[in-house]
């Protein structure tokens, strides 16, 4: 038996999503309105009303109702409108809406009934399941399908509060002023009672009385004209800097180091760990760890920036004037020039000094060289000394 009950529950759940969709479909206008700026009356309006109310004490029942209303206020802000003015095209829309709704609701009801008769064994249980089902379905749609979990959690306690759902603020105030009709003294409405009442209010439109549905439907319209929205820039300015006689001058930051540190701090606020290799490269570039784009192999070689490449390569000019035109020393020095011209690691100045060092060297060793060469044949000696 227990296992069986489980299956019951399960199949109920299986039905739920579809049934819920029906609900959402038929009451799409209400959920729509919630997506837009739900509360129809502005915050300020609400507030003033709240304040006004305590002044109009009309007795116990009114106070009770007030309390109940205040309790539910948070959850049903969208019901607080009092827009009963007829609008063009209303009648037509009303009829269509009502028709749609009627069929949808009746669909829901029959579906629920079917399920109940399928599952239930005795009469009592059938009714129980049916009412539970409907409560769940209509509870959802009443909340615009947006608050499923909360609705679920609240349900047992919320039924009492929602019991008088059609009782909205305007009605309440009217009620307080004019008549003290029926006392809402009924003991806590049971679930089935609640369902019946909700159903009644849903199917009412076909009879023509549409008050309970209407405010929700008009919310969107009102949002366009006047809503809970805030006109951010339309208010009265403070008038401190905008007075006519105030002349303002730009005030640059007088602390240069502070503002530099501040900028750096700000940049770090928006800094993320690199998300791809390019960002990684950016980070490294900023830290000076990799070549900067565009790639330039003379990057950061400040000393040589103003030295032309020719001074690095054409070094023979430094031989002019001291080096013999031919012979072993000339040959040696030319090799030195070739080697130096290919060396990227020394500056042009260093190359020149290097060559001149050889000049001084040969000059210093002139005597030895002369001796050597005279032994081999005195031909070259003359040329060195020139």
């Amino acid at each position: 038996m227990l296992a069986f009950r489980n299956t019951q529950k399960l199949s109920l759940r299986a039905f739920l999503p579809t049934a819920k969709n029906v609900g959402i479909l038929s009451y799409s206008s209400s959920s729509q309105s919630k997506d837009d700026d739900g509360s129809s009356s502005s915050d300020d309006e609400k507030r003033t009303r709240k304040q006004r109310k305590p002044e109009e004490k009309t007795g116990e029942t009114a106070a009770q109702r007030l309390n109940r209303l205040l309790g539910t206020m948070q959850t049903q802000t969208d019901q607080l409108t009092s827009s009963d003015f007829p609008r063009p095209g209303d009648a037509n829309r009303k009829r269509r809406e009502a028709l749609k709704q009627d069929t949808a609701t009746s669909n829901v009801i029959t579906a629920a009934k079917n399920i109940a008769s399928m599952l239930g064994t005795n009469e009592n249980e059938k009714k129980q399941t049916e009412s539970e089902l409907l409560a769940k379905l209509l509870g959802h749609s009443a909340e615009g399908g947006s608050d499923i979990t909360q609705g679920e959690d609240k349900n047992p306690s919320a039924t009492a509060a929602d019991g008088e759902k059609e009782l909205n603020l305007s009605e309440l105030i009217v009620g307080m002023k004019i008549d003290r009709r029926q006392q809402p003294e009924q003991p806590e409405p049971t679930r089935s009672e609640y369902v019946r009442r909700t159903l009644a209010s849903r199917s009412k439109p076909s009879g023509g009385d549409f008050t309970s549905r209407r405010p929700q439907r008009h919310v969107k319209r009102e949002a366009e004209t006047f809503s809970g929205s805030v006109n951010l820039y339309g208010g009265e300015p403070l008038g401190i800097f905008t007075k006519g006689d105030v002349k303002l001058q730009d005030s640059p930051d007088i602390l240069s180091t502070w503002s530099m540190l501040n900028d750096r701090d700000l940049k770090l606020h928006a800094a993320h760990p690199p998300a791809n290799y390019f960002e990684q490269m950016i980070q490294w570039t900023d830290q000076g760890k990799v070549w900067r784009f565009p790639i330039d192999n003379e990057q950061d070689m400040q000393e040589e920036v103003n030295v032309d490449f020719s001074e690095h390569i054409f070094l023979e000019q430094h031989l002019e004037g001291w080096c013999p035109n031919k012979g072993p020393i000339r040959h040696f020095m030319e090799l030195v020039c070739v080697g130096l011209s290919k060396n990227p690691y020394v500056t042009a100045q260093e190359k020149k000094e290097h060559i001149l060092w050889f000049r001084d060297y040969f000059e210093a060793k002139k005597d030895i060289l002369k001796d050597l060469m005279s032994k081999e044949g005195g031909v070259n000696v003359k040329k060195i000394t020139t």
């Binding site: 006109n231 390019f278 990684q280 784009f293």
Partner: protein, 655 residues
């Protein structure tokens, strides 16, 4: 470079390129072109070294199916839960720190300069000691690099040696010391640490941290005569580190001496008005009087002023006054041509959307205002906007459409840079997912879930519970195995509440074999249950252990029984229940035992069934239906029958 220089000297005709018309505006061409076609050579645009890289980086979107760049070095090690993600990233950073430490500690090994030009980051940093030869220029350099500790050290050295430090340099140092409150900041390059920092240490504005009478004030005293700059630096420093009374006193002193300060200094004071005055009215009064002072001194306010005023307003307890004054401030600054930053909108949100105030839809107007805009960081609080906006969407308005708009804004341009840090990102996605799973259908929600989880966001246990609740409500039990495997990966399996929830969903929603999506489900559920059983058993050795309850074991048993081929496992679990029955609090549900007996009938295992019955008898559970079922289901042998009778007595057969 050599080459281009040479080329310049070559005859021009050889440089000629035939280019498709308009295709290569960067190349000059000397080719005989029709005279009519005039080629406009655009001016060269100076590019910074990273512009090209940034352009390239912007072409790489976020791939939701791949782990973040920092995690993908080794597929085996890709972290899959929040805690491992954090550990991984911070370990990587710790590696960098260790390397840095070695570099500094064994500096003699790194003195060689291989690279040309030398890379300063790879060389050990200069160490200043008491003996260092220093002069004013090295202090200048250190201040401009923002090296607080060394700068202070060098300054002290200079003072000791009696070397004159110019007032301008003292002023710079004063600014540096005031900015950091003479505390070494976290080095710039530790980006991961900064990303995760606020997880542990939430930088709340608690109390004064300004160091009274320390270096900053000595430096300030050393500057004579006092300049506006020195006043400004000290005021801002005190305001930043909440030495409010003295900062304000200093401002008054400066005003008395007719010293002209600047806008940013006033901003600093406006920011701390809430610490000086207690009630909303007093705060507002002081705020306006400060603004009036600025106007008198002809200081043009800037974005910082707007945000400071809004911050001050956001601390008002009186929400009516807060709202009305915010709505006065905004048009004022609009007229001055100051464009609010995201930080301003953040303040607006916390001014308008409060728990103890009427619901406000100001976020709609804000979004209308900034839809599709790209933002750059302009104010430290800019990074608070997205997390707060999503929080408002979820907790204040409960509006899915708005949340989607916020999300769209976040993914516009480079706005994602302003998400803040991992902590705020977490809050953002937590609110987003929680809102979606409450408002969207389960299919739509799972689509978003698939995108975000696990690479962009990993749900915390609380959010997991929300998701499970959504699944329960929708009866979408087919998602449970998937969620379970995620939970295992995300390390949520030691949360008892989550385990119970998963079990309950699976037990309560018996899979419907007619739905194609659910055909495999009994098997999968049995696997999940078995997995869970093993996990819990394993966890007994750990510190954070989950202990079995009878309820939990009963659910596991039920699920195992429902799977077609896991009766053996079910038997194993039941044996465990039976043996440990004195240690396990509670008993399995009656239904669990009943299903187990049913299954043992199917599997023709009368001794198991009798064991279940015995357990039921011993634990004072309802036995009659069990006994009846056993009696009807099996053709019992004499031994079994005798046992049955001994357990429940003879009487039941006659009933």
């Amino acid at each position: 470079m050599y080459l281009t220089r040479q080329l310049r000297q070559l005859p021009r005709s050889r440089l000629t390129r035939h280019i498709a018309s308009g295709n290569g505006p960067h190349y000059t061409t000397a080719a005989p072109q029709p005279a009519a076609e005039h080629i406009e050579i655009p001016k060269r645009i100076e590019r910074s070294p990273t512009d090209l890289l940034q352009a390239l980086a912007s072409t790489v979107g976020r791939d939701a199916t791949a782990p973040h760049y920092k995690y993908h070095d080794d597929p085996f090690l890709i972290p899959m839960s929040n805690i491992t993600k954090r550990t991984y990233a911070l370990s990587k950073e710790a590696g960098r720190k260790a390397a840095n430490w070695i570099k500094e500690e064994h500096r003699e090994l790194f003195m060689h300069q291989e690279a040309q030009p030398p890379i300063e980051k790879f060389a050990p940093s200069m160490v200043f000691t008491e003996e260092s030869e220093v002069d004013a220029s090295s202090l200048q350099l250190l201040v401009s690099q923002g090296e607080l500790k060394d700068a202070v050290l060098v300054y002290n050295l200079l003072v000791q040696k009696g070397i004159e430090v110019s007032d301008a340099l003292k002023q710079s140092l004063l600014e540096l010391v005031c900015f950091y409150n003479n505390e070494e900041p976290l080095p710039e390059e530790y980006i991961e640490e900064r990303w995760f920092m606020q997880n542990s240490r939430r930088r709340e504005r608690h109390g004064k941290t300004w160091k009274d009478g320390e270096l900053a004030e000595k430096l300030y005293a050393a500057i004579e005569p006092k300049t506006p700059q020195s006043y400004a630096a000290l005021i801002r420093g005190m305001a930043k580190y909440l030495q409010c009374e003295r900062a304000y006193a200093l401002l008054q002193e400066a005003n008395e001496k007719r010293i002209q300060l600047d806008t940013n200094t006033y901003n600093a004071i406006i920011q701390i008005v809430s610490f000086i005055k207690d009630t909303a009215e007093q705060r507002w009064q002081m705020c306006t009087s400060l603004l009036n002072q600025m106007a008198e001194q002809q200081l043009k306010p800037n974005l910082g002023t707007l945000n400071a005023v809004l911050e001050c307003i956001s601390t008002f307890g009186n929400f009516k006054l807060a709202r009305s004054s915010a709505l006065k401030v905004l048009p004022e600054f609009k007229q001055l041509g100051i464009v609010p930053s995201l930080g301003s909108y953040y303040y607006l949100l916390i001014i308008f959307c409060r728990e103890r105030a009427p619901v406000s839809h100001v976020i709609i107007d804000i979004l209308n205002d900034i839809n599709g805009k790209e933002f750059k960081v302009e104010h430290p609080k800019d990074t608070y906007f997205f997390a707060t906006a999503m929080d408002v969407c979820r907790n204040h308005l409960h509006d899915k459409a708005l949340a989607k708009r916020v999300d769209e804004l976040l993914h516009t341009g480079n706005n994602y840079d302003l998400i803040g840090d991992s902590f705020k990102e977490g809050i953002y996605y937590r609110n987003y997912l929680a809102l979606l799973c409450q408002t969207e259908s389960i299919e739509d929600f799972m689509r978003t879930y698939d995108i975000l989880v696990p690479n962009i966001y990993i749900p915390e246990p609380g959010i997991m519970e929300e998701i499970l609740r959504a699944i329960e409500i929708n009866g979408a039990v087919e998602h449970v195995p998937r969620i379970w495997s995620d939970m295992v990966i995300f390390d949520h399996t030691h949360r008892e509440s989550l385990l119970l929830y998963v079990l309950r969903i699976m037990v309560d929603n018996r899979p419907n074999p007619e739905l194609p999506a659910q055909q495999q489900l009994p098997e999968q559920c049995a696997n999940v249950a078995w997995d869970m059983y093993n996990k819990i058993e394993e966890s007994a050795k750990r510190i954070k252990k989950v202990s079995f309850t009878g309820q939990m074991l009963g659910d596991i048993l039920t699920l195992l029984v429902r799977g077609n081929s896991s009766f053996d496992k079910a038997t194993q679990v039941f044996t465990y229940i039976d043996k440990q029955q004195h240690r396990i609090p509670g008993t399995p549900a009656d239904s669990a035992l009943f299903e187990y007996v049913e299954a043992s009938i199917l599997n023709k295992a009368p001794s198991q069934a009798l064991m279940a019955l015995q357990y039921a008898v011993e634990n004072n559970m309802e036995t009659t239906p069990l006994a009846k079922r056993i009696y009807e289901g099996f053709t019992l042998s004499e031994v079994h029958l005798a046992k049955l009778k001994s357990l429940v007595g003879e009487g039941f057969l006659t009933k």
